[in-house]
């Protein structure tokens, strides 16, 4: 059987691919886990940080709207107190989570969530 140039290239390609995807499978790797388990408390904390950020952005936007005379002072005050109320609730929950984690560590997070 004659080995032509394309065949040689194909052989090279397939060898290269097998080596590339095979090395991690057969090489020595540290025994680490690439993905940590989803921790509900950590997820809630992450989510609350995003919500807090969104509320702060809303407050900033409200300020811009007030400056641009898009909204009356009364309306702006009413909306601000509503957003601030939500933000305070979120900040309180964040603090609560932080305190509990400081006190009991991450392992207590599940119990805390249930409580």
């Amino acid at each position: 059987m004659n080995i032509t140039f394309p065949h040689f290239i194909e052989l090279l390609l397939i060898t290269g691919i097998i080596i590339a995807i095979g090395i991690p499978l057969f090489g020595k790797l540290p025994n680490t886990r690439p993905f940590s388990k989803i921790d509900p408390v950590e997820e809630e904390f992450k989510h609350l940080l995003v919500r807090k950020e969104e509320l702060l952005l809303s407050l900033k936007e409200l300020e811009v709207d007030l400056q641009a005379d898009k909204i009356s002072i009364e309306d702006s005050d009413a909306l601000r107190s509503k957003i601030e109320g939500e933000a305070i609730a979120i900040l309180e929950r964040i603090d609560e989570l932080k305190k509990n984690i400081k006190k009991h560590g991450r392992s207590a997070s599940k119990n805390f969530l249930l409580a």
């Binding site: 995807i21 991690p24 993905f35 989803i38």
Partner: protein, 669 residues
């Protein structure tokens, strides 16, 4: 090279199959070895498909007619520019092109998320690789672009003359960039569902992908309309052809998604709705592909060898079934904690906008599939033409236009009477004054003209509300800036999403105005002319000067009519419409000549000619068509602003991660 191209297609299929399985196993078993191994697959698959693509392009450029695909879509005389685009001129090459774009996107996603180690990433990569597998399966076993001809002919059949147009070089890749782009948010949505990681992280990860894909889809539709306008020679740009609809529907659903996703980000609501919308967008892109490749519908846009219907139908049903099952099983996790504060708020406006957009999408979908259903059930082929679409979509479209104007000026959460009065008064006043000025000028003799009049009033309302937004924002910033331009610049720079979005809306308004005017006030006339005779339309007089024949290439002959165009007795332009005859093609191709201004287009067609040099000339006067294309470029500008990297947002994200790390660091254990 053909052998290598065919071989790498097979290798790409094998590696992407491996990658799909390995990524899922790595995520489920939390195995680093499998993850690192699977992580090589995106690059390998992309490289293999790139090699296949280069092989096919090389075959086109070297006139290798031993490949059936090159024989069918090229010939020796074909311009290099079109040899390049012949790659996607037929079904086989276009599928390879799809796979190339998909794997290129996958590479970018892979690089973007390599060090993030989020659980959704391997699942998203697995979904993208699984979709790649589907296309590679078709390319290897059903529609191979490297299929050989045992006895290669000396020359090819050539590219369809209708496709030998510069818009046809740009339009398909742009559309594909949009179509394929939605695979990324879809894959992340699926990944979020599979991994039960259902906060809005996947939305933030794919926000830019959605905006960019939407932009390409939008421009793809516009470029397609441009091609139809200059190449098909019927004086219009949109005919509600099923294939046009197939590209239009995902755009509409994606627009709904783009808006509703903002409510989820802002108020943590509508999770199920957003999830459904992105899945529906992707389903619509596959449906569009099904329409063009199933052979069910005959259109200038479908592929000649459309034989892949069952495969795409199978994929469609599979995706719908899996997505529905996943959404239902994750319903408790997708429940929103918040509710709408008021129906008189911007959130509610977005909700209504979504309903209207879905109404348009559904009406278009129904009009597209009804002839297929009718033929399948009753054996009667029914054509659903523009009157149906116009009757349903125009009123909904007008309501949507009003909402574009209302959205930015109504308050988030809850609008009050004072808010409405403050922000609505001026735009409403401008709209009413505009309406009063236009009233004696525009004709109002039929329903279409009345709709157009309403559209103009609404366009003025929206445009003035947008411009007032820019004005108010600039004036508020002017206090801290030296110049008005500086204030405007910093306003846009610091609120890219908001003002980029407004810019896109200005582009949309221009498109609305262009469509309304050109579809209602367009007129046309036709006359058989001898040399020296004239034809008149509106204020223009066209004098037929001569007819010339030019042998452009050995396969193409051009017959050109020359007409001097006069306005108020003064010559303003020379029109040169032509007919092109291609060797081996039965039908000649019309090449229209257009004089385009913002006010109107003068569109001249050489419909027919005879040996005595008399010719039938058709002239269209289409008002404001240029507004459509200009609106497109404004949309491009707005999208660029929206998609521009936001340093503040990056900083906020990093701060969040830092805080998270401090609180959840192992030292806490």
């Amino acid at each position: 090279m053909n052998d290598i191209g065919e071989f790498t297609l097979m290798i790409a299929l094998a590696t992407s199959l491996y990658g799909t399985v390995a990524y899922v196993m790595a995520a489920r078993g939390n195995r680093i070895d499998l993850y690192l191994s699977a992580d090589k697959v995106p690059l390998i698959t992309w490289a293999c498909i790139m090699i296949s693509s280069i092989a096919l392009w090389k075959a086109f450029f070297t006139n290798d007619f031993s490949l059936q695909y090159v024989y069918a879509y090229s010939n020796i005389e074909l311009d290099y520019f079109y040899k390049f685009s012949s790659f996607w001129g037929g079904q086989k090459g276009s599928l390879l092109f799809w796979a190339l774009i998909l794997t290129s996107y996958m590479m970018v996603v892979h690089i973007q998320n390599r060090s993030k180690n989020l659980i959704v990433v391997p699942y998203a990569m697995a979904v993208m690789l699984a979709i790649t597998c589907f296309f590679l399966f078709l390319l290897n076993f059903s529609t191979n672009p490297f299929e050989r001809i045992p006895l290669p002919p000396e020359d090819g059949r050539g590219l369809n003359p209708l496709l030998q147009n510069y818009w046809m070089v740009i339009h398909p890749p742009t559309l594909y960039l949009g179509y394929v782009g939605f695979t990324v948010p879809f894959a992340f949505a699926m990944a979020a569902l599979i991994s039960k990681n259902l906060d809005d992280a996947w939305i933030r990860l794919t926000r830019k992908w959605t905006v960019v894909s939407w932009f390409f889809l939008c421009m793809g539709n516009l470029f397609g309309a441009s091609w139809a306008y200059v190449e098909l020679g019927w004086g219009g740009y949109w005919a509600w052809d099923p294939v046009e609809n197939a590209a239009f529907m995902p755009l509409i659903v994606a627009t709904a998604y783009l808006h509703s996703v903002m409510i989820q980000e802002k108020k943590d609501m509508m999770k199920v709705w957003n999830m459904s919308l992105i899945l529906l967008t992707f389903v619509m892109t596959i449906f569009g592909t099904f329409i063009t490749r199933s052979g069910l519908i005959q259109s200038v846009h479908t592929f000649d060898e459309a034989t892949l219907g069952y495969y795409f139908l199978g994929l469609l049903f599979f995706i719908i079934a899996v997505c529905t099952a996943l959404i239902i099983s994750r319903l408790p996790l997708l429940k929103s904690k918040n509710e709408l504060d008021s129906f008189l708020s911007r959130e509610a406006g977005f909700l209504f906008n979504n309903l209207l957009l879905l109404g348009i999408a559904f009406a278009t979908f129904w009009g597209t599939i009804f002839p297929i259903i009718s033929e399948a059930i009753r054996g009667v082929k029914i054509t659903v033409g523009p009157p149906f679409y116009n009757q349903v979509n125009v009123p909904i479209g007008l309501a949507l236009l009003a909402l574009i104007g209302i959205g930015p000026i109504i308050a988030w959460r809850k609008a009050t009477w004072s808010n409405l009065k403050k922000n609505f008064l001026k735009p409403l006043m401008f709209a009413l004054i505009g309406g009063a000025i236009l009233f004696p000028v525009v004709p109002l003799s039929n329903r279409s003209e009345i709709y157009t009049y309403i559209a103009f009033i609404l366009c003025i309302f929206v445009l003035s509300s947008m411009l007032i937004e820019f004005y108010k924002g600039t004036m508020a910033r002017y206090a801290s800036s030296e110049t008005y331009l500086g204030a405007l610049g910093s306003l846009i720079w610091n609120n890219k999403r908001r003002y980029g979005g407004y810019t896109v809306h200005i582009g949309v308004v221009m498109i609305y105005a262009g469509i309304a005017a050109s579809s209602s006030y367009g007129i046309h006339t036709e006359k058989r002319l001898k040399i020296g005779e004239t034809i008149e339309i509106r204020d223009y007089m066209l004098r037929y000067e001569k007819l010339a024949a030019i042998q452009a290439t050995s396969v193409k002959t051009r017959i050109i009519a020359q007409l001097a165009v006069e306005k108020d007795g003064k010559k303003i332009w020379t029109a040169r419409p032509e007919k092109e005859f291609y060797k081996g093609q039965n039908q000649p191709v019309s090449e229209v000549d257009v004089r385009s201004t913002l006010a109107s287009d003068l569109y001249v067609i050489l419909a027919d000619f005879s040996e005595d040099e008399s010719a039938t000339i058709k002239v269209y006067h289409n008002p404001m068509v240029k507004w459509l294309w200009t609106g497109g470029w404004i949309i491009a500008l707005g999208t660029m602003v929206c998609a521009w990297p936001d340093r503040l947002e990056q900083r906020r994200r990093l701060e969040r991660l830092k805080l998270q790390k401090i609180v959840f660091s192992p030292a806490q254990e």
